[in-house]
C-alpha cells in the first residue's frame, strides 16, 4: 500500500465525516460557538491518530467509532468549559447556518418553495416547525386528525425538497 493511496483514504474519510462531526458539534455547542471549528479539527485528528495506532479494531462500524470519539470530546469540552466558566455554553436554538454560498442558495430556494405552497401547507408548517406544536396539538388547533397533519407536513416537505433539488 503506497503513501498516495493512504493519503486518498485520509482525504475520503475527512470528506465524508467532517460534515457529520461538524453537525454534531454545532448541534451540541451552538452554531455560533467560535471554538466549534477547532473542536471538529481536533476530533478528526484524534480519529486519524487512533486508526493509525490501531485502536480501531473493526468491532463496531467506523461511523460508530467516530461518533464515540466525537461524543466523548464534546462531553470533555463541556466539562472543561463548565469548570472554567461555571456554566456550560448554551447552544442557540436556531442560529443562521454557517453561511456558505451553498446554504444561502439552498435557503433562498426553500423560501421560494414555501412561498409557492398552498396556505394549508404553510399554516401546518408554521404551527409545527415555527411554533413547535406537536402533531396532536396542530391537529387540535386545525380540527383535523394527526394523521392528516403528518400527511400535510410530509407533502409540504416533499414539495420543498423537489424545489431544492432543481
Amino acid at each position: 500500500m503506497n503513501a498516495k493511496k493512504k493519503e486518498e483514504d485520509v482525504q475520503e474519510l475527512i470528506t465524508r465525516y467532517r460534515p457529520i462531526i461538524t453537525f454534531r458539534v454545532r448541534k451540541a455547542l451552538g452554531a455560533q460557538n467560535p471554538e466549534a471549528e477547532d473542536l471538529v479539527s481536533e476530533i478528526i485528528s484524534q480519529v486519524l491518530e487512533k486508526i493509525k495506532s490501531g485502536e480501531f479494531r473493526g468491532e463496531s462500524s467506523l461511523g460508530t467509532f467516530i461518533y464515540t470519539i466525537t461524543s466523548r470530546r464534546i462531553v470533555d469540552y463541556i466539562r472543561e468549559k463548565t469548570r472554567v466558566m461555571k456554566y456550560a455554553p448554551v447552544p442557540q436554538a436556531y442560529p443562521d447556518p454557517q453561511e456558505t454560498l451553498e446554504t444561502v442558495e439552498a435557503s433562498q430556494k426553500i423560501k421560494e418553495a414555501i412561498r409557492r405552497l398552498k396556505p394549508k401547507y404553510r399554516q401546518v408548517l408554521y404551527l409545527y416547525y415555527y411554533q413547535e406544536l406537536t402533531r396532536e396539538e396542530v391537529a387540535q388547533r386545525l380540527g383535523i386528525s394527526s394523521r392528516k397533519v403528518s400527511e400535510l407536513v410530509n407533502y409540504a416537505l416533499k414539495l420543498i425538497r423537489k424545489e431544492i433539488k432543481l
Binding site: K6, L13, S61, G63, Y67, Y94, A106, I114, Y126
Partner: protein, 237 residues
Amino acid sequence: MKKFHFWQVSTTKIVDKREGGSMSKCKFEDMIDGYLLNRLGQGDREAFEEHYFNCPSCFEKLQERDLIIITIKNHPEILIQENAARESLFSRLKTEVAAMFTPRQLALAGVTAVLLLVVVFALVPRQQIPAPNFFLTDEETVRGSSITLISPVIDMGQVPASFEWKKLGENVEYQVSIYNHELLWKATTKENRIILPEEVRAKMVPGEKYSWQVKAFSPDGTLIAVSSKVQFKIAER
C-alpha cells in the same frame, strides 16, 4: 493482538458509499424532526446520533430538514405573510372607517344600509316582476304588462253601466271585450273607462255570468298589455 490499519479499514468501511444509502425509507427517518426540535429522550437521541454517523442517507435528510427548519425559524413571515397582509388590510380599513365617522354616524349608516337592503330585496323585485305571458288564443301568446281592472270585478246587483280599468299612459288604445259563453261585445277607446251601450246592456241577463278583458295597444297597433279575464255575475231580481 490484531491491529487494523487505516488503509485496511478504508476498503471496507469508508469507501462503501452504499452503507445506509438505500432508497427505501430508513426507520430512523421518523426521528429527524424529533431530534432537530429537541423532543427525543436521551436514549433515542444517542441512538439517532450514532445512526446518522453511519447512514449517509439519513444524514443528508437531516441536513436538509435542518436547513428547512432554520429557514422557517428565521423567516416566519413567509409562512404568515398572506394572512398578515389580509389582516392588516382589514384592520387598516376598520381604523380608517372608525376615524372618519362618529359612533352615532356609524349607527346611522348601519340603519341606512339595512333599510337599503330591505328596499333592494323586498320592494324592488315586486316592481320588476318579469312581464307575464298572456295566452290570447291557443296559438297566440304575448309577453307584456298587465292591466288592472277596476269595475266590475265582483258580482253586480244590476247590469253595469260602465267598465273601468287603470290607465297605462298617454296614446294608448284600449280594446274592451265582454264575454258570455262567447264574445258579446267588443269596443275600443283611448279612455280608461267605457260606457256600455243600451243595446248591449239589454242583452245582459240577471243571474248570468259574464267576463270581460281589456287589451292595450300602442299607436302603431302593437299589443302592449292585457288584463286578466275577470268574471262577474248579475244578481237575479
